[in-house]
């Protein structure tokens, strides 16, 4: 097998990544390692939010509906993490798939939990489709450069899981 070792070494040298051939992923795709697709949505409390305007902050985008039991269960944990880290640069977007829910039910539940982070309303499911959300809840952890670093499908996420993912990104330099 010595021949394999020699060929392997040659192959490794010729297939190395040249400085102008970056391994950074081009395009916006809802996948770890790619830039998070941008969106602009209206907020439950009025106004709008755009993901691209949050560059420089760590962002947690949590897709949810009020009728989804694991979404309901993890929401207090998300709120607790948000309160702990918002001054350090964490932004949470509670992205309600309103096309599958209702604005009233979403508002009622947010009030019940005492949510203080922005709740965005996806009225036509366009952002849900853009992020290929096939299960609820789904959470995207986005770093300060706007790159998706972790995707958690299903839930409920424990508070420790959310905290560890957020801390990992907050520790990184801007």
């Amino acid at each position: 097998m010595t021949w394999a070792l020699i060929l392997g070494m040659v192959w490794t040298v010729i297939s190395r990544v040249s400085p102008d051939q970056s391994q950074a992923q081009a395009g916006s795709v809802p996948k770890e390692g790619f830039a998070a697709p941008d969106f602009t949505l209206s907020l439950l409390d009025g106004g709008e939010i755009s993901l691209s305007e949050l560059r420089g902050k760590v962002v947690l985008v949590n897709f949810w509906t009020s009728w989804c039991p694991p979404c309901r269960k993890e929401m207090p944990a998300i709120e607790s993490v948000y309160r702990s880290y918002k001054d350090m640069g964490l932004v949470v977007i509670g992205l309600n798939l309103t096309a599958q829910d209702s604005k009233q039910d979403a508002a009622l539940f947010a009030q019940e939990v005492g949510v203080t982070f922005p709740i965005a309303l996806d009225l036509d499911n366009s952002v849900g489709n853009l992020y290929r959300v096939t299960a609820l809840p789904t959470s995207f952890f986005i770093d300060r450069k706007g790159v998706i670093r972790s995707v958690i499908v299903g839930g409920p996420m424990s508070e420790a899981v959310i905290r560890s993912k957020v801390e990992e990104l907050l520790r990184e330099d801007q």
Binding site: A135, V153, G154, V161
Partner: protein
């Protein structure tokens, strides 16, 4: 790509399911090989079980250690089913260590035990490829090749298919005992060496390689290092006794 299957209120993670199938079928091959090499089937099963459980536990503990303050205040989160909170490298090292300790305490022949694991692990490697195909992970670099697949908004090398193909070839070689192995442990070393060769080759087509230094891909450098170790072991162990020729 087919990452999830909804079964009523449950969400089946297909990549994880593929790995479980790989484990189950792999264990069947291991049991057959244990019988062929006349090793205690129960002890080999325990070896795999302890290695696996130990690996998973340490993968979680190693992850938690990075965020000690978080897990100290929420210790029950250590028992989460979330696969995102595991450190696989630590799990692999500790899993092997725990299996080694078990083998030592049970006085299992180390090299024979490794040989028994080879066909099962070779099958598991195929299912790792299937798992990548289902999840869309381990994706290829953008290409204009006619056999490119459209994935993650670009035409890419179908590296998951390459992975499955080469794992199948390695599995067939290991299962059919195509390359002679004249000493205990050589069958396993052959499997590791062939897998390392496959990885060094496939990695060149990946679009998500970790880069070590000066453009060199980490997986290729690690693969070559493993290959050097395997070649050294093959030379040292070969011809010392007539292991498989005695078994027939």
């Amino acid at each position: 790509m087919f990452p999830y299957l909804r079964l009523g209120p449950f969400l089946l993670q297909m990549p994880l399911f593929a790995l479980l199938v790989g484990l189950w079928v792999g264990l069947t091959f291991i049991e057959k090989e244990a019988a062929r090499l006349k090793l205690n089937k129960e002890k080999i099963n325990n070896l795999v079980f302890y290695g696996l459980i130990g690996g998973i536990v340490f993968a979680r503990l190693a992850y938690a250690a990075q965020y000690a303050s978080v897990y100290i205040s929420n210790p029950f989160s250590l028992f989460s089913l979330n696969t995102n909170t595991l450190l696989p490298e630590a799990g692999l090292i500790f899993g092997i260590l725990i299996a080694g300790i078990y083998a030592y305490r049970q006085k299992l022949s180390f090299r024979n035990s490794m040989d028994v694991l080879a066909p099962g692990l070779a099958f598991f490697m195929i299912m790792i490829g299937v798992s990548h195909l289902l999840s869309g992970n381990a994706y290829g670099a953008p290409t204009r090749a006619p056999w490119a697949v459209y994935l993650w908004s670009d035409y890419r090398q179908p590296t998951q298919l390459y992975e499955i193909f080469f794992a199948l070839v390695v599995f067939m070689i290991v299962l059919s005992r195509m390359i002679p192995a004249n000493a205990p442990g050589l069958r396993f070393i052959q499997f590791i060496a062939l897998s390392a060769i496959a990885r060094v080759f496939i990695e060149a087509f990946r679009g998500d390689s970790a880069i070590l230094i000066d453009g060199y891909r980490t997986a290729q450098v690690v693969g070559l290092t493993i290959l050097v170790v395997c070649l050294t072991l093959l030379r040292n162990w070969e011809g010392k006794d007539e292991h498989e020729s005695k078994i027939g």
